[in-house]
Amino acid sequence: MGCGLIRADRTPLPQKVEECGTMRNHRIWIIGIALLFVFACGGGDQEPGGAPTQPAETQQAEVQEPIKIGAIFAITGPASFLGEPERNTAMMLAEEINAAGGINGRPIEMLIEDTEGVEDNAVKAVRKLINQEGVCAIIGPSRSGVTMAVVPIMEESEIPLISCAAAEVIVKPVKKWVFKTPQTDSDCVIKIYEHMKTANIEKIAIITGTTGFGDAGRQQLKSIAPTMGITIVADETYGPADTDMTAQLTRIKGTDAQAVVNWSIVAAQSIVPKNMKQLEMDIPLYQSHGFGNIKFVELAGEAAEGILFPAGVLLAVESLPDDHPRKAMLLKYKQDYESKFNANASTFGGHAYDALMLVVDALKAVGDDPAKIRDHIETIKGFHGTAGIFNFSPEDHNGLTKDAFSMITVKNGKFVLFQL
């Protein structure tokens, strides 16, 4: 602007013009340097062996070529409460394995990418991991929709994917290269309905979140209800960013529902118990396995007391009997995680644990050939994971049954195993 003014005066002051020009140039230089800095840092990322996601590189790294395993999680964005424990778990395990000498003498290199829970980022990340890094398997993504978006790439590139997302469509119908570790929605629904039967509940209201997880649950709740003699008298939904569900719950209160099922995976689900308390609704509240993070209990506060939901026993590991076959392993994971990250272990991190350990199991047995890893995972039987005991087969790429779920309840702000 200043330069323009000077010209308009038609009084040539070359010195001033010069000054104005250098000021401009200064600014351009600053931008240039800032960009250069960023690009230089970015360039550093590409250097072989300089993987930023794996700080603890062992001595063997120089001797033996590391085995590259990819991971894509929603570390930031609305699904970060899934992605963060998954990322932490994968990093922790990789460090542990490498500290113990790696796999058959070879260290593993975890290459972790953030999808932000968005499809196109996942597509880019998967292409990067496969084409650029040459990984032998990928664990993740965290979300079901994102998993479905990368399935075609996995099938085409013939690299195994072990998803940490729950939706049934991921493995039904079976896709050759795709597995998943979380328990299945329909098993969760059956577990809830079975529990209702024991409590003589027949008429229920459902309230579900409008996310991929919530929607999949809603469909399963509706389709399984008639086969188990349950009638759904109210069917309400809420958005992931909603802050008040009083309207939906008032409608439910007006029906003769004997229990409410609240099915969601985002933080908004904690508002339902709060609102129910405000509305003085004292019918039982069931939640889905998406409630498996103690943070949701903290958010709901006192209102969370007595909530019932099916989940892996990892959450209530302390209340397991000592002779439980998986107690030691679950306890170790939980304690390791909690001491390392100063945060509560959740079932979501557990899904990443299972996914990575399945890959590690295959690596130990058959080496790092993607096709052999896939074939091996398909034959794994009796594998003790955090979500349950996995029995894979060519027809079943999830490997879990409804027995992987236990009913868990909230008592004094903690998860405990539900006992009649």
Partner: protein, 318 residues
């Protein structure tokens, strides 16, 4: 323009045909189609739209649904999506563009929200929040665009065509009329220009480009869900145009490429990448308020002017 074409032809061979940078640039190309249209709307007609993600979504869903549910030919579905989106834009544009101020931004913002809710609620039709997949890939004369490198060339040739078309628009009577609207709507009206008609035309054109982009996205990713067309994308697209420079069509391309590529470099900052990202955008907006291409153009002009001044002084003209 020629430099641009050569650069884009050479790019895959510089980074390797199978590199994931090809994938990144495919997305940059897909989004460039929208930002070219948006640049016409923002930079030339002076209107802001916060609903281009909705038009993108309309294109993606229409293409995806027609090809998967009704087994339509992808190209036919693409045309149907174009028609549907253009008519939707026309319906919204006619009433809102008669008003002055930011009514278009508000109306398009609402459209985007409504559409996302529709996609999430119509579970039977759209697959709800989980989205739907198995969308067939595009084929040209029986040749299926299966590999990334093929789609790369396909997308960027369409971007080049769109760019040529947009440039023709700018240099035509319509373009001059548009710039007069941006300069001063009242004056333009007084000169006998039917401003609202021109604004509607350019709005519909930009929506059509967004729809085309959505169709390409659907056939490339072969999966669509509501997260692909949420408000975040609309805002992102406006930022792309602003960063690149909204008064220059090239700005749209530069902005789009920069904002698509930048996050890939920022991974090194790990948890702080969003901070670094914001910082870079802030620096650009502070030092180059007219966008990167705008700043570059100003710099070139200034240098030329200074050169001329020195030149004329030497001759003793002034």
């Amino acid at each position: 323009m020629i430099v641009f074409i050569l650069l884009f032809c050479a790019f895959p061979f510089l980074v390797g045909v199978k590199s994931y940078w090809i994938t990144v640039f495919i997305f940059a190309g897909i989004y460039s189609l929208i930002t070219i249209g948006l640049s016409l709307l923002m930079g030339y007609a002076g209107q802001i739209s916060l609903g281009h993600a909705a038009f993108f979504g309309m294109g993606a869903y229409t293409s995806g649904l027609l090809t998967t549910l009704l087994n339509w030919n992808p190209w036919l579905a693409l045309l149907a999506a174009l028609l549907l989106t253009s008519s939707a834009a026309l319906l919204i544009g006619i009433p809102t563009l008669r008003l002055s101020g930011h009514y278009l931004a508000m109306a398009t913002l609402a459209l985007g929200e409504i559409l996302v809710i529709f996609f999430k609620a119509e579970v039977e039709l759209t697959g709800g929040p989980s989205g739907f997949g198995l969308i067939p890939r595009l084929s040209i004369f029986g040749f299926v665009l299966k590999r990334d490198i093929e789609f790369y060339f396909f997308v960027w040739s369409i971007v080049a065509l769109a760019l040529v078309m947009a440039m023709n628009v700018i240099h035509s009577r319509v373009g001059r009329a548009l710039r007069s609207i941006h300069g001063g709507e009242l004056a333009a009206n007084a000169m006998g220009i039917n401003t609202s008609s021109y604004k509607v035309q350019v709005f519909v054109l930009s929506a059509a480009l967004a729809s085309l982009s959505g169709s390409l996205y659907a056939h490339y990713v072969t999966f669509v869900s509501p997260t692909a067309c949420e408000l975040k994308l609309s805002v992102f697209l406006v930022v792309m145009v602003a960063i690149g420079g909204m008064h220059h069509l090239w700005g749209a391309i530069v902005g789009t490429i920069l904002l698509t590529v930048l996050p890939e470099f920022l991974h090194v900052f790990q948890d702080f990448d969003i901070l670094a990202y914001g910082l870079i955008l802030m620096i650009i907006m502070i030092f180059a308020p007219n966008g990167l291409v705008g700043a570059l153009a100003a710099l070139i002009q200034r240098l030329r002017r200074r050169f001329l001044a020195v030149d004329s002084q030497r001759r003793g003209v002034i």
